[in-house]
Symmetry: C3
Subunit: 472 residues, 3 copies
């Protein structure tokens, strides 16, 4: 092994190894590499940009809040508290310790997308030129920390450097969207930062806090939510408020995809029971499934694109959840079913003009079996980008291989980063562009499409698909 290993992301990284195919892929990638980033769904906090404060320290920026990173370190023996998880603000010693854990466990990330994103981020944003290791952890820490003190590393400067054209955040229906308002009102800020309506916690009576959440919803919307009619009106009102603030989509994440209607009086009865804490589990589930259908109805009426992100067993390890809270790396996928689950919804709204439904999954088996056939018939249905654990090179290739033959390229959503790791946004979009260029080059090299078609498709995947699908 070399004494000092360098960190130099290769210009051809992720392009196919076969020389002929690689040459085609390079040309396709060149056509999209500099295109602006459209991020129609993600988890960046809008206050980050509204306030534009300097990032505090390397670990708080790159390690602690990123469950992709912390779960792998945890699996490799680092306790979450060593990484600052669950703490508000890290001291320098704490940040440095967390950073050292990352660097000394660098080999654990080989072959993972986290490694790929980090390589790009460290090199392209912070100018790091050495591969992280236990030995150089402090050196790199200091290098990044020095950057973070400079104005060109504040959120807005990075946002512009990243070439982001649209960034959608994910927001609670009760949020007043003041950060979005501030950005929109700021004459020095031109980029589009828009909210997304994320109502899950108002739709699941079985979840802790539902009752308080609904009460809050009533207060924020100024509508009496004593009965079901008011509850529906309050949700509709908040959707309108979000639309007025630029939202184009609503995001839904539940355990399953099922959407099943209840008669209105039955929905009203369960609502009353749930509000007084007397809904049984089966009733709560029925209500949630009914409300998913209601959300589709509202989307058909008000035009908010509906995205569905289901199929995760959240907080698998109770002791970790109790100590560190949600999103700490132990959400584990489960098998999902769409064909039957979505039938009642698609029966009603599948061909409704302007209704858009974007389907995500962590269960790859439904790509070719269910998502592609559905999006290859229903004009409203789009195959969402590979999500979460599947947002990775080999998984993205499997996605294109599984979806394209049945649904083509035009029925896919375009890339969605879905990240709270702000600095990883350009690396993620770049990864997607490289992989799509490679997949298209593979079709060209096998004489399945011509290169001019591949070029046009590569551009559409980056520019047209997300704009059309998310109505941007």
């Amino acid at each position: 092994m070399p004494q000092i290993a360098s960190l130099q992301p290769h210009p051809d990284r992720l392009l196919p190894a076969d020389p002929e195919t690689r040459a085609i892929a390079r040309r396709l990638y060149d056509a999209v590499r500099e295109s602006p980033i459209i991020s129609p769904h993600g988890h960046v906090d809008p206050r980050l940009l509204a306030e534009n404060l300097s990032f505090s320290d390397p670990a708080s920026l790159l390690v602690t809040p990123d469950h992709y990173v912390t779960r792998m370190l945890h699996a490799n023996g680092v306790p979450l508290q060593e990484l600052g998880v669950g703490q508000d603000r890290l001291t320098e010693a704490q940040s440095r310790r967390a950073w050292r854990h990352l660097c000394s466990h660098w080999p654990a990330f080989r072959g993972t997308p986290v490694r790929y994103w980090f390589d790009s981020e460290l090199s392209d944003i912070f100018g790091v030129t050495r591969r992280p290791s236990e030995d150089n952890a402090d050196f790199i820490y200091d290098q990044i920390a020095a950057c973070l003190t400079k104005d060109e590393f504040r959120p807005r400067a990075l946002f512009e450097q990243f070439g982001i054209e649209v960034l959608a955040t994910t927001d609670d229906p009760a949020d007043d969207l003041s950060a979005h308002e501030a950005l929109a009102a700021d004459p020095t800020w031109n980029a589009r930062v828009i909210p997304t309506f994320r109502p899950d916690r108002y739709l699941e009576p079985a979840q802790a806090g539902w009752n308080d959440n609904v009460t809050l919803l009533g207060e924020v919307s100024g509508i009496d939510v004593t009965d079901y009619t008011g509850y529906i009106a309050a949700l509709e009102g908040r959707r309108r408020y979000f639309i007025d603030h630029g939202a184009t989509s609503a995001d839904h994440s539940h355990l399953d995809f099922r959407a099943e209607p209840l008669p209105d009086n039955e929905a009203a009865r369960i609502y009353r029971a749930a509000r007084s804490g007397r809904a049984r589990e089966a009733e709560a589930t029925a209500f949630r499934r009914h409300m998913l259908l209601e959300m589709a109805r509202m989307s058909a009426e008000d035009g908010l694109v509906m995205t569905l992100h289901p199929g995760v067993h959240r907080n698998h390890h109770t002791p970790t959840f109790e100590r560190f809270g949600v999103d700490t790396g132990h959400d584990i996928p489960v098998q999902v079913e769409l064909t039957r689950a979505l039938q009642p919804l698609l029966e009603r709204y599948g061909t409704h003009p302007g209704f858009h439904l974007v389907l995500f999954t962590l269960d790859e088996t439904v790509f070719s079996r269910e998502i592609a056939p559905l999006s290859g018939f229903y004009p409203s249905v789009y195959a969402g980008a590979p999500w979460w654990f599947l947002d990775a090179p080999e998984a993205i290739r499997r996605y294109r291989s599984a979806v394209t033959e049945t649904a083509g390229f035009g029925r896919t959503s375009g890339f969605i980063d879905d990240t709270r790791a702000f600095c990883s946004i350009p690396a993620r979009h770049d990864m997607s562009r490289r992989l799509d260029s490679g997949y298209l080059a593979h079709l060209v090299a096998e004489h399945r499409i011509d290169e001019d078609e591949a070029t046009e498709t590569a551009i559409q995947l980056v520019a047209d698909n997300p704009r059309n699908v998310f109505k941007l």
Copy 2:
């Protein structure tokens, strides 16, 4: 982009891009490219050949009846009525309009097998040299329409040009098979066009029309079907009638694979209840599963190869079904299970001499998990070719990759086009030959088998496997 894009299917299309592997694949493909086509299962109407009338117009031939095509256009915003779906005969204006929709949505098919088949059909059969587009839609329409007036584009002439040696159709048990008889009696016609026994609608008491169907079965067979014994005898009689007309297989498509015996008196009881319209849903399901087992018993006795095509939720979008009928592009796959479902059937007939069971799936997960292990033990079980949505290049590669290691090449059925799109038959078989050549070349290039073995296997897959599996 070039001003005028050409349509020139490349001689090496679908062969692997790596130069060394491609060279091997070319040699393998050369050994099978001209072999006669054996089509042991499909949906071409035998009257097409018996009557040998000219095809009426381009859209009626290539667009309207092909749900692979119409579903994708529908997904991309073209209403089915714009494509002539549900109409008996198209006016020229209607045909032209449908054709224009196809051409103007040509990019929607990039990366799909429909595009691949069309490229071959348009070029090889109709001499089209330009890539379809909105601009040249009428030009190409006229070119095809002019062809269709000529004698060499009548069904029988095309059949011979395609090099088809055997074509199996799919037929209702009540069919008198007069078209097959006419062809067999015609001294000017030498090719083999044989029927296939497809009894689904007589086996599912829960399906609309079952009672009338069974009454018809009794009439056609001349057997009193008042009770279960007569019903069984009538089915056996019609199988015999089909065998006498050249049939070698029976095709079964149900929602699931399950085959479960009922005691004879219980089967008889449910039969009587169903005939008088009083069978409950659970009874109807039990009866269907019992009858699937009965079909296996009959196959073991009379020798008809049993093919199973299960796992589709038919007619997913009710409004489309009600307006346009069945097979209009919204049949959506569901997950299937075979190991337990087929255990009672294989326990009884799995090692029965002469019993052949060909298993198809739209749920790829069962390829390596269930179909390959079953066909790698039971001498009766064959892994059917990739079916429907899976009859596509990447899916076929996944099939070979998933099945071969556990079951070898000899336990697979050989290619089955299963199509009603007559003109796509040569392109579909050619696609399969290219892909199998590529897969075998990959094994040779990695020194896993020798090239003489690969050549022999390529030939067997095209000639021996379908003949042996389907007893042709």
Copy 3:
């Protein structure tokens, strides 16, 4: 075809075909090809080595006991009795006949790992230089039979020639481990042959013989197993006995992964009912799932690595089972679920220091969906090597592709041959090394990791991972 086909395994076999990637893979493979074999889980009989008798004949060594081989011959029409299955000892005529069946069906194995292992075994161990066929079956038989009479083909000599450093066998809790004791006490024998605790048949009250097995367990352990407390103590005692004889792991194979606690008094009640033959099926299942959790508790306490091999429908074809017994080629995989099934177990022991849980599957869909996310969070969970039907080149590639991006290389178990085919051990480990070298080379060729990292990882997969995961 050539008149006489040769058998010459190519030095580059299984390495990627692309020249640039192949060159990298060759270098990586060179770094591990000669490393000692660590086999932490398999089914070689320890008496083979303790007694060190000559192998009797080619078929008894290479055909009859290997269900990978016999099932494929059976599928291709050879009755199991023709292969000697179910017989104690073969006459020369019987052995020769079985061997001829193998050779005349050589083409049936094309593209399967059995073919790959045989090529290596025949060439590397027995010096066979011709591809087996009907014509040369007797010639090759004689060649192998002649080898088997020589001392250098006795088990211990082969063991040393194979370069095996550690071999774990699989043993019944009631076994006195005298073969292991004999080997450990033998001053002429230096290699490590260790037992594995395999308690399935003591944990499933629904299985035939359970009651007798438990009685035996009580006798062997010298503990009164009249009640549940004694039964638990007897199991703990036998684990301790195995640990004292070198065991480092316990192996568990059940129909599903589910682990669910029962209250102790309920477990005691079912135990008593089962002992008196009055446990209902649901109770027996609940008891088994409770006992799986108990096994995890014991592993957390005594440190035996817990391996789980579930998801097989055993003895699918009853007539074959009744005539020939277990392990005769008709065990068929079923779908499995881990996320929910293992939650109670991981909730309790997932972060327990020193607890190791290695997960195997025959249902590939759980690789990316469940196994990788679990092993990418829980420090105790490791993704087991591709098992049984999946221990094959394409399946191993799918495994690395599905697992690595979410869990990295470090969370995988390293290769496990799990075989009773003694002579296939080196070929199996060699296959794994070639494939991992190819996968790593693919990452290097796409500039995702550097070559020094790939080299280090290749070595770790062969040396460190199995040692660390199995505590060797």
